[in-house]
Assembly symmetry: C2
């Protein structure tokens, strides 16, 4: 059957339901145990960068100029690491603050410090404000939303469009001084894989938030993570905000979690030098320095932007068949049925499927029944609640292609079954 | 002259002042540039552990059981690292939470979370309390005090005795429900090098603080850091607090900063499993995992307690001549003069000199004049203010012995000159 389900007669739907249910039960009987829940690189990607493990092997390898990376000091990171990240992000080395293995920690700590100490332009610490609201373009990244939620903020959902967050809504919302910031993944957004358009980016840079300490959380997690085609240059948001008269509004984040090792990488926060000065003084109470040997290990291994982009091509060669497997299967099995839509990302770590309303939870419950673990329904929305029960995030990077094919077959059957159950009710 | 300065006649003092001033000026003319300011290991110690850099060299080295340390996950740390630290601290693996390279960060984050979320037994978050007071045995570690100060706590100075903090005072002070915690370095305290006596430790474990969420910050930074003699076993404070009915009062911290690399080590927080469960849930919002490859690197290199203690013997062999150089010079040059006293530590990273009142600042100013950088006077007291202007922290670990000898010679001359200036005023 390749006609849209909604065009089917009752008898056709009923027959299709029987067929799909039978196929689903057959899959279920196989006792699969497959995981498409998290944006984890697969084993092959981790093995790809093994040379990094020994690139620093002797005492003489441990120096960045005169700095002995093994000893205390350099809270902002070693100069060589600032230079590398500045080149990758298109900003200046002195705008870079190098962290530990998780950019999430830099984001969390920024918000935590806003609460306990206030940001550079805060009139008081956020814990002393009656109410803090944060803009959450959704579907978005569950861990972002959970940081805000953990601090008791009110999460305001902003719709995502194919060119980024709905800027008409954003421009209106930031007039409220209680709105203190916004989460953004501007390139290959999590989970849609949308690249914000130049116009959207320009409008964000030009915003005039009522809150003087509005924090634009610019999580450029996938800044060099194309899996189809060539590297897409991306504007330096620090420069755009500066030119728009908002030099201290933006905090940009990135990491090597999906370049080298998710469990042992290096992260960066880029911001105006005034912001970095202010934050480095606060962070200097919290740590003497992040792991500088690992910073140098990354610099020695990644070398520069050209060399890093060449490595990303190798990651892309591993990831491309996985994304194509999912996208081709969706195109073949689901597209003709008119029960879901999705973007066709060329980078990032996810594919985000929007089903007809009310199908997401049931689809994932069926997947689970058949042994396929997916990101829980609703996770991509504030408070874990998808108002339409429609968005499903697929993370195709971890399993090998043959397992992934099985998993996505189960997913397609589950989605069809959920749709038919609803249509035949 | 080897009679105490106070026993000298005016003429003797005047003559001694001339002699010392001349010697001081001669040292000053050498244009020295020496640093005894921070407890940093020296180059030789860093080179000692170079094998750690390559102990994990291949993909197959990266697994702790079935856990691929290179990938995401395991926020509490890898099992092998929990086992190693539990053996070193004498607690249970499930009581250990493994962090990044800095135990200071684990301490800071604990306090930060007390402010933003509250601790396990808090009635409300500390930011909602009118006043928070924290006990600071002094002289103590400046970075501890600065964490408390950074959150606007009132720092209460508690006197240090040769057996640990003045417990009569502590037991009285903790009756105030605004007193929410205490900083302790129980073994080889920073800066005195005092080992808390069994009685002091027992009294601390048995305290009955009025605050239900009193946080005993048990920074066991020098738990295996003997430089003279054999390893001194130390009680498991978690067990003592549990037995005394205070299972959730204590948070113990340690790290490999002075075992492997200060700039690339591994840290641990040990606490009751209820505390660890509570905190791991909060920290899980902040990070997916700390650097697990580095955790495994440490486990593979350090192996177990016996092997780690053998490594500490090698560190001791490097440190012993440095501490002896300082202690011998002080005994020879200063002890007979009756102008200062000090403990004779057998472990840790510091020697703490208590001069006659009013000499510390002037002594360090003279040191600086002659090119010797020391920890600023007052740093070892809350708010950086030593009420007697008496305590000076000497950090003898970084310079080679020949430089150290020059530096401590300058220090002794500076102290004598400061004393004579005061006595002849």
């Amino acid at each position: 059957m390749t006609i849209p389900y909604k065009n089917m007669t009752a008898a056709q739907k009923s027959a299709e339901l029987d067929t799909v249910r039978e196929a689903f039960e057959a899959e279920k009987a196989l006792g699969l145990k497959l995981d498409m829940s998290r944006g984890k690189p697969g084993r092959e990607q981790l093995d790809l960068v093994s040379e990094m493990l020994t690139v620093i092997a002797e005492p003489s390898d441990c120096f960045d100029g005169t700095i002995d990376t093994r000893n205390y000091g350099e809270v902002r990171g070693i100069p060589a690491a600032k230079k590398l990240f500045a080149e990758l992000l298109g900003c200046k080395p002195e705008e870079c603050f190098i962290g530990g293995c998780a950019s999430l920690t830099l984001m969390y700590d920024l918000i935590a410090k806003a609460y306990t100490h206030g940001l550079l332009r805060s009139e008081k610490s956020w814990s002393k404000e009656e109410k803090i609201k944060f803009l959450c373009p959704a579907p978005g990244y569950d861990r972002h939303f959970k940081v805000s939620q953990s601090f008791g903020m009110e999460l305001i959902t902003v719709a995502m469009t194919p060119t980024g967050p709905d800027m008409d809504a954003v421009e209106e919302l930031v007039k409220d001084p209680a709105v203190k910031g916004m989460w953004c993944v501007p390139k290959f957004s999590n989970p849609d894989g949308i690249v914000y358009s130049d116009e959207t980016i320009a409008r964000i840079a030009r915003m005039k938030p009522a809150a003087p300490d509005f924090a634009l959380m610019w999580d450029n997690a996938y800044c060099i993570h194309e899996f189809e085609g060539e590297f897409i240059p991306f504007p330096d948001m620090l420069a755009l905000c500066r030119e728009a008269g908002n030099p201290d509004m933006v905090y940009e984040f990135a990491s090597t979690s999906k370049v080298t090792f998710p469990g042992a990488g290096v992260s960066v926060m880029a911001a105006s030098t005034d912001n970095i000065d202010y934050l480095a003084a606060l962070i200097g109470i919290q740590i003497i320095s992040y792991d500088k040997v690992n910073q140098l290990r990354h610099v020695r291994y990644l070398k520069d932007k050209a060399h890093t982009l060449a490595l990303m091509k190798k990651h892309a060669a591993i990831l491309r068949p996985k994304f194509r497997c999912v996208l081709d299967t969706l195109a073949r099995e689901i597209a003709p049925l008119g029960i879901a839509e999705w973007q066709k990302p060329t980078g990032g770590y996810f594919i985000s499927v929007n089903t007809l309303p009310g199908l997401a939870k049931r689809t994932l419950a069926l997947c689970k029944e058949a042994g396929v673990t997916m990101t829980p329904a609703g996770a991509t929305f504030p408070y874990g609640v998808d108002p339409n029960d429609s968005n499903i995030r697929i993370a195709p990077t971890l399993p090998p292609v043959d397992e992934l094919q099985k998993a996505i077959d189960v997913f397609c059957l589950s989605l069809r079954l959920a749709a038919l159950e609803q249509l035949t009710k």
